[in-house]
Symmetry: D2
Subunit: 327 residues, 4 copies
């Protein structure tokens, strides 16, 4: 029973058309499927059918974060595991989410809506104009927009970072990689992963105290140079730059944060470390080094960065038709 | 009487639609004006109305290379200078070339068709969606294609490089910057400029002996990283990569050569030196270092690179309506 | 019983001083320990004590490739596994290799000398001038040489690629990621990994037929821009550039190959894909696409690249004092 | 009578050894000559003997900014020009400044100490280990530190920007390129050049009102990627990062500011525009766009950036032995 990797986020967006336009024309993602209610998107080298779902709605919110499990058995094993721990969950039917088999939906202890799945369509373009000359890749190298290489990670906010991190580690088996402590020793942020990425998910303190929030959905670009180009594109083409370029000392990654038209925060980043040691000890960043962890180059995190995230819906908030209640 | 800088090339193209599509969608240039016969294009930061004209035709050829002069007087002064030297020329009327005043057309001693002009429209987008948030720039930073920053230089082939270089220096006042000599001391290539660029125009030996040819039209990108992305775009999106990425030791620039659909060779390059000393002595590259000059990283120039260039039309080959014969 | 990741290569070098100088001054690696016979080196962000050992010798050869196992139990489990399969092995004592616990040494079916280990010192500089301001990192960001971020992968040659790949997959559990087939269907190369890297080890055909060889030891740099700088450093400062910059279509990585003074081939590369799907199917590159797999940008692999690799010593060729024979 | 280009700054430094170490080991400049009192430095591709002079002193101050003139005659012509305008000046003897002929020293109307010179030694390394394999370059490509390609520009502070700019344009012939106006229409900054660089010198308002100051001495790096590496080097290796990476909207350049150990502000930058039109009209940035001009990516200039600059000595403050008073 194991999680293999982070897969996708479903984001409800209050301005469906503007968000769709931004993610395709400026962000440079590709639509693998869309209907009147949803658009499924992926970065050019994402191997799965989607790494982002935009769902039309009255408000903007995180609907769920999707994780693929390591093998077919893991899905039911996690359900049994949740039964034992009295963690409520529901199932979505195969196909309810385009390209995906059935999904096990639940919320973390802090209220972040999540989904585990095994079956997922591996994307290969069917448009002959977009077949890559290189068999390894699901489509051609792109020519439009920021065009990140791949989805990278989730980042959520919580009132109690340590509790959330311990739950993710103990219940889901996501390893703790590094963390930041405030002056009084309280946890400010924790970064976790099951893969060799420095983090598949981060949990950062919600300084506003409003509970679970999506902080951002993160994509990877190939170089600082691409990231600088991305910043210029955002300023000129309809995004709202929030912070960066800067360097998170914790991971060594160069970052850029911005808001898409419906208000979700997006990150593109590059560089940074991969983690290989199987007996990795979480790295402690104390208050004395916290500022370098935020931005090694010396800028301060904007207030919005510390206080603002997108609302989350409960894990049972998905359309009823797509769910089978556990009992 | 002085030339200020290289301005644009007019290229006759046998596949007008395919070339236009390539230059806008893959190369990432912008059309400032077009009609059924011509498309005027520029890089996003080119300040002039155009740095490239595509003209519909049965064959692909260089029609002219345009140079802006330093002041209004220089135009007539050059005509008088040509009179004295018995160099034939014609005038094109103001407006015959979109955005440009009258042009003084002539051929170099080796037969390269050229044009001098003074009046030229400085480009500012009239499309409100494309007005940059930055007043310094003629339009927004782009999101499509290779999107070089600016036009950089011309490169032509000649049976007699030294004679051509000396003519360009003596008659037009374009300074000699560096040159390559073969084993027997004959000139293989010469690079010249009036600006601080390492060269505004290069003359390379036509090993096929077929005389004046356009070797390539060159654009500048901001980094090696962009150039690597450009190479991938060319491979995937309808250009034909010829050579690179490599490094010309002579200028220190990183290069990439490819053919657009009508057969003209295009270069994008980056890095390289600027030249500031007013008493610059041309740098000699002898046969022992020639290979490092071609590609410091060790690749060999393809045969096409040494032998193939686009035909040139005579400087009086422009449409008669656009010309006023000198006598 | 599982391998966690590739760790280091021990290279015997015929010019110890020249190699040491090259790897520190031009390559930009750091010495974590050295004596008269050996130098232990690592990239600035390598977390382990070393990713490269240079051992003084009369000839240049690969002594062993080291792999860390996933947990303490795996080491003895692999030994028992080898017993069952009648694969000969020896043990090296803890400390025989600086910073490392005991090592299980064996050769692959094709003759590549390998070592498994569990205990390894995690590097932290003891030099106060080199302590990073960032607690996540084992030392400061470097200022000298190419300075790759981290060790990336091994690459070996074999007369029978398919047999070697199947052995690595079946016996060691290293997953097959992608492969290249020649015109007649024979295997030209296979790339394998246990981590999310596209490959931890590659096996390429030895066209000279001379059997097991080290093809290269590979490090990762952060961008194409760094790789271009690396190429210039190699040309100017005592390495011998063999091939690149180019792009391996198979992985999408930008590559550069060069020889260090004792004749071992080193690669630095960047970009490229990470692999996350747990049910990844090896990607087949057939003869029609093979050239794009070698270099997407169109250059041909040099003859040396196809035929030359460094000799290997048998896995029992390590100094006797450091070994405990199995029986 | 014309200035050719900006050449070098002489900076008096209160911690000569620390500054020398920083500029060679971290900044990656090269010493072309040094004695107990002075160190002459240049970037690896600077063609002149020096672009920076460090002079030992009790305080840190700008001693002079050196400009090369276009031809030998210009030097005396400028002296006569100054005579006519009653601008005081002195001459330094040939050789008083290493590698340079006699210098014409004067102060701008705002008090910035300057020097014009014609004769200057073109640098070629005499160390055989440092001779480049590429004849175009004065030395090998470097392996240490930030290693900018070349000196780029000066930046000075003034209580009255407009007066200073008009003086530089009217008296020295340095063209006005772009400027920023405050809310009330007063001039906040002006950028000027005689070359194709966007500016050879900038004048920015001294918000502290303390008069002429050196704001910074600027070098060019080849890419955003190098600039990000530079920022990390500064943080880890003894510089003090002040601001950046960010983007000056005015020039489109990516910037990074930091202080060397004696307190002078240094900039490295990349990208940005070159200016070719001979009839360039200065671009106005009004108060509404000022913030984007400072940093397009949205950060605010630190207070130090607006108020702090290094003191200047009067143009007659050079050692008496090196001067010949005009009368």
């Amino acid at each position: 029973m194991k999680i293999a990797h982070a897969g996708h986020a479903e984001l409800r967006v209050k301005d469906f058309e503007a968000s769709k336009r931004f993610f395709t024309e400026t962000m440079g993602l590709f639509i693998s499927y869309e209907d009147n209610e949803r658009a499924y998107l992926r970065a050019w080298q994402d191997f799965e059918h989607h790494s982002l779902i935009l769902t039309k709605g009255d408000t903007s919110a995180l609907v769920h974060l999707g994780w693929r499990v390591e093998d077919p058995e893991s899905l039911d094993q996690f359900a049994q595991h949740f039964d034992k721990l009295s963690i409520p969950y529901t199932w979505t039917e195969a196909g309810a989410e385009r390209g995906q088999g059935r999904g096990l939906r639940f919320s973390t202890i802090g209220g972040v809506p999540m989904e585990l799945y095994w079956e997922m369509e591996m994307y290969r373009t069917k448009d002959s104009e977009w077949v890559s000359v290189l068999p390894s890749f699901p489509q051609k190298f792109p020519t439009v927009g920021i065009a990140p290489r791949r989805f990278d990670h989730f980042n959520v906010m919580s009132n109690d970072v340590q509790r959330e991190q311990e739950w993710l580690t103990d219940v889901l088996g996501i390893k703790h990689r590094y963390y930041v402590e405030g002056a009084n020793g309280e946890r400010r942020g924790s970064w976790l992963s099951v893969t060799n990425l420095s983090h598949d998910i981060a949990v950062m303190r919600n300084y506003s105290g409003s509970g679970a929030r999506l902080h951002h959905h993160g994509y990877f670009v190939d170089s600082s140079d691409e990231l600088i180009r991305a910043a210029t594109m955002i300023v000129e083409h309809g995004g709202k730059l929030e912070w960066g370029p800067g360097m998170h000392g914790t991971s060594g990654a160069i970052f850029l944060y911005f808001f898409e038209p419906s208000g979700h925060r997006i990150e593109v980043w590059t560089r940074g470390m991969l983690i290989f040691p199987p007996d990795w000890k979480p790295i402690r960043w104390d208050h004395a080094t916290e500022a370098l962890g935020f931005d090694t180059f010396g800028s301060k995190a904007p207030e919005t960065y510390l206080n603002y995230g997108t609302e989350v819906v409960s894990a049972t908030g998905a359309p009823a038709s797509a769910q089978t209640a556990r009992q």
